[in-house]
């Protein structure tokens, strides 16, 4: 009897403990809004502005008009939320340009405050567990991103493998963009990323942890993939549209125009934690070659037939980066590239190979010069290589001076294979 009473007492205690617990972390999946992509901008008054794509089960269920209705519903819900501590809610409200998915916007004096404001304005529970991309606004990056990156990544809700992008212009504009054929920006980015490595340079997709490591570790500067908004007129077959990077986030224009399309067209170069500038697509390709990544194309023409252009696809790349005379004031930066190219048909492979080598070398040299002279950014990690060679003597400050005076020694060896029918 005693034992039975004791057992009952224990059971009651345990049951009440469990019953009173409240399941703090339990939130039904259909009550959540999943943030897949987020943009961070810095406004003129020093306020941070976070814009986020928030998708929930309801917006998934509906499609077409239903999705718009759901989006509007969420937008209304977001807009009706009260403002506090500088937080405000806004959403796309124009009829024809209503986004397919809801976009939440919140402000704050700090990143943490902005994130909390985002949580408070959402009608659903914000779930950051599936956050895939964070886009940094240009104004913010030019002033320094160290604090932002630390604040975002320190939050345990944020996945460690989130990809960072640099916007040319406003991050919110990119978040609000509607890529053709895709539900939302993140879907577009996901598909882009899963393409073959030969089609998309890996440099476009820089994980936040890697960016942070480059910020913290001496001997290498950081970079991010750059996203630009481009408007392509309907009769524009060239693919080069109008760059919308300077456009503001004002979406209340009255004149109908083609929706601006996001484009991954280069990388953003950082020095320390500040944005210095952008490399265009060709320069980015050269940079990826220097990093040992294959991909991209080389277009050459023989002097004997200058109008006949041949495109060589770079299918494999082996690189070797070394530093010579690392103790001198002007070290030598050696870049050795072994390129394997593929072409469908060619008449003279050796000539093609030497032309390709020359072209690659030219592109690489141009990019190296830009990095060294214009941006003074050691993206390839030559500083780290120098440190490894003399770990007890190497100093980051000394290397900064050495870097600006370093000379380049670029060697390119190309072999070409044909895969065509003829």
């Amino acid at each position: 009897m005693k034992r039975l009473c004791l057992l009952i007492l224990i059971f009651i205690c345990v049951a009440s403990v469990f019953g009173l617990m409240g399941c703090w972390d339990a939130r039904e999946i259909d009550r959540r809004a999943f943030i897949f992509a987020m943009g961070i901008d810095l406004e003129a008054g020093g306020l941070y502005r976070i814009s986020a794509i928030a998708i929930n089960g309801g917006s998934q269920q509906s499609s077409g008009g239903g999705a718009v209705a759901a989006a509007r519903g969420n937008a209304v819900a977001a807009a009706s939320a009260s403002a506090s501590l500088g937080a405000s809610a806004s959403a796309a409200t124009t009829g024809d340009t209503a986004p397919k998915v809801p976009v939440l916007v919140a402000h704050g004096r700090t990143i943490a405050e902005s994130m909390e404001a985002l949580v408070s304005i959402s009608a659903r529970i914000i779930d950051l567990g599936n956050l895939r991309s964070i886009i940094l606004g240009e104004t913010l990056s030019r002033q320094g991103v160290n604090d932002v990156v630390r604040a975002v990544l320190a939050d345990p809700r944020t996945p460690a493998d989130v990809i960072l992008f640099q916007a040319q212009g406003s991050a919110e504009a990119i978040i609000r963009s509607e890529p053709n054929g895709e539900e939302h920006l993140q879907a577009w980015l996901d598909h882009y990323r899963t393409k073959s490595i030969l089609d998309t340079p890996a440099q476009y997709f820089v994980p936040a942890w890697q960016f942070r490591s480059h910020l913290i570790n001496p001997g290498q500067d950081a970079y991010l993939g750059a996203i630009t908004l481009i408007t392509r007129p309907e009769n524009d077959a060239s693919g080069a549209g109008e760059n919308m990077s300077d456009n503001d986030t004002d979406t209340t224009t009255s004149q109908p125009q083609p929706q601006p399309q996001p484009t991954l067209g280069g990388i953003a170069v950082f020095k320390g934690d500040r944005l210095r500038g952008f490399l265009n697509e060709e320069q980015t390709t050269a940079f990826s070659w220097m990093s040992g990544k294959a991909g991209g194309r080389v277009v050459v023409s023989s002097p004997k037939a200058p109008n006949q252009l041949t495109t060589i696809r770079v299918t494999a790349m082996r690189h070797e980066l070394t530093v010579s005379n690392h103790k001198s004031a002007a070290p030598v930066l050696n870049v050795k590239l072994r390129v394997t190219g593929a072409v469908n048909s060619a008449n003279s492979l050796p000539e093609l190979a030497s032309l390709t080598a020359a072209q690659v070398k030219k592109q690489v040299a141009a990019t190296a010069s830009i990095l060294q002279t214009d941006f003074s950014a050691d993206l390839l990690g030559f500083g780290e290589l120098a440190r490894r060679a003399a770990p007890f003597d190497w100093q980051p400050d000394t290397w900064e001076k050495q870097w600006t005076k370093a000379s380049w020694n670029i060697f390119v060896d190309v072999s070409i294979q044909t895969f065509g029918r003829f």
């Binding site: 339990a26 939130r27 039904e28």
Partner: protein, 516 residues
């Protein structure tokens, strides 16, 4: 009042047989004459010359052909010279019972007794008792011949291959099923009676040269020490033999299949057969043995292994799937890829209840269906479960009470756990899965892990008659892995090298008997 009645009943059982026929018959009439099926017949032996005699039997339990042909006829019509006074012998030297059993009766099994306790037990067991006037000994003649259920297919352990016979309610028939399979002199079969009121006969079957003598002694002692009113089914003994009364996990295996029981004997285990029960008990029993089906050994080794793997997968799915669903949809959705998460979110959109409620409701509904289907007559059972499934499945989804994903989860869970061959083991895991599901609702994946850890800790502390319940995983016995999930080919399996050790494991501190 009740005690004095029991006391007087007990005294009757101790009463010695009288030498007077009248006294004996009167005693029997007083004790059992109130029942219409108790029959009494008086007659004179030796064509009217010999002493008077009487038989008592229960109509319905006896084979009346034997009674008429082999007992009454020779007793009444044949002449036995000593009883007729020829040749001349001192009448005091003549034991009529001995003479009758030696020269007249044409029945194989005859016993003698001087107590009414044995007489009554024999009569209730289908024997016929013969009293002879002047003899204080009664003859118990085997005339058992009641109608019993024929040997049928096993209901609860069906398989594609293998024998189709099952135990029935007759003890002797069941032992015969085992005898037919093991024609070995080491085959031992001990009998005992358990149950103060039911006097149920229980057989302890084992192979003398393979059984662990200490385990055998422990089982025998435990059985003999059982004091219970009645033993209606082997399940009564199963619970009494198990030391841990509150464990949901069976420490003793039960089976309807004689082939399975025979195989257990050959492994050195003990089989207990209870009269009037078609389920034999096998002990010791470890967790792994209850995941093995008889058919695994009748198919080839790869097929048998494949079937076991399927069963393990079914068990894992059945145990963890509801909990995983609750954990991933309520607590840890970030584990899933975004596509899967959104698909799950979309399927749950509009469902008014939390995932845990959904899961519990559906699980209980399936349990209701399963329970109802065992009670319903076969004719309407199929239709009823079909309707139940349709109602629960389709209508509930259309009414947005549950999500469509839930139907899949519940179906896979039910099917997964029903693959476990041992019914009680399947039931145990069906109960255990609620612990995992509730933990998942509270703490997500962490809760699932903790619940499983608790289960494993508990199971690792169990013993079945000295054998650790989680053998051969813990303690790790590599040799036994040939017949664990893998079913090694017959040329690798050598039963003689893998039997019970002669020294069983010492019991745990807190329990020294039975299944612990």
């Amino acid at each position: 009042m009740g005690r004095s009645r029991e006391h007087s009943e007990s005294n009757k059982m101790q009463q010695a047989v009288f030498s007077s026929l009248n006294a004996n018959m009167a005693f029997m009439e007083e004790t059992i004459g109130h029942s219409f099926d108790a029959k009494f017949r008086r007659f004179v032996l030796n064509r009217g010359i010999g002493p008077q005699a009487g038989v008592v039997f229960i109509d319905g339990l006896t084979n009346e052909d034997i009674l008429h042909r082999d007992i009454l006829r020779p007793l009444m019509l044949d002449i036995l010279p000593p009883l007729a006074g020829q040749p001349s012998r001192d009448p005091e030297d003549i034991d009529p019972i001995a003479e009758i059993s030696a020269h007249l009766l044409l029945v194989a099994e005859i016993e003698t007794t001087n107590t009414f306790g044995d007489v009554l037990e024999a009569v209730f067991s289908g024997d016929t008792v013969l009293f002879v006037d002047g003899s204080a000994t009664a003859l118990l003649i085997n005339t058992k011949g009641w109608t019993t259920r024929s040997i049928e297919n096993p209901d609860s352990e069906s398989d594609i291959r293998g024998p189709r016979d099952a135990f029935n309610e007759d003890l002797l028939t069941n032992v015969t099923r085992l005898r037919r399979r093991i024609k070995d002199p080491a085959f031992h079969c001990e009998s005992m009676v358990i149950g103060v009121r039911t006097h149920t006969r229980v057989a302890l079957v084992f192979l003398q040269d393979r059984v662990n003598p200490k385990v055998l002694r422990q089982v025998r002692d435990t059985l003999q020490s059982i004091e219970i009113d009645s033993v209606i089914d082997s399940g009564y003994l199963q619970e009494l033999l198990q030391g841990r009364r509150w464990s949901i996990f069976p420490l003793i295996q039960s089976t309807e299949r004689p082939d399975r029981a025979s195989a257990a004997l050959l492994e050195g285990r003990i089989v207990i057969i209870v009269d009037n029960s078609p389920f034999a008990l096998i002990l010791p029993a470890v967790l792994a043995s209850m995941f093995q089906a008889a058919g695994d050994y009748y198919h080839s080794s790869p097929i048998g292994t494949f079937l076991r793997i399927i069963r393990v997968i079914g068990w894992i799915l059945g145990l963890f799937l509801p909990g995983l669903y609750v954990a991933l949809s309520s607590v840890n959705p970030e584990v899933m890829t975004p596509t899967l998460a959104m698909a799950l979110a979309a399927s749950r959109e509009g469902v008014p209840y939390p995932a845990i409620f959904e899961v519990l409701v559906m699980d209980i509904a399936i349990e209701l269906l399963a329970e109802a289907s065992t009670r319903l007559p076969a004719i309407i059972g199929g239709a009823a479960t079909l309707v139940g499934g349709l109602i629960i499945g389709s209508a509930a989804v259309e009414a947005n009470i549950i999500s469509s994903t839930m139907i899949i989860i519940v179906a896979v869970t039910a099917i997964g756990l029903f693959t476990i061959p041992h019914y009680e083991m399947g039931l145990a895991w069906r109960i255990a899965k609620y612990l995992i599901t509730v933990s998942a609702a509270l703490f997500g994946l962490f809760g699932i892990a903790n619940a499983f850890i608790i289960l494993v800790i508990y199971l690792s502390s169990l013993r079945s008659f000295g054998q650790p319940y989680l053998s051969p995983v813990g303690p790790y016995r590599p040799g036994d892995y040939e017949d664990f999930i893998l079913r090694a080919p017959w040329w690798r399996l050598t039963p003689t090298s893998r039997t019970f050790d002669t020294e069983p494991q010492p019991p745990n501190d807190d329990s020294g008997k039975g299944g612990s």
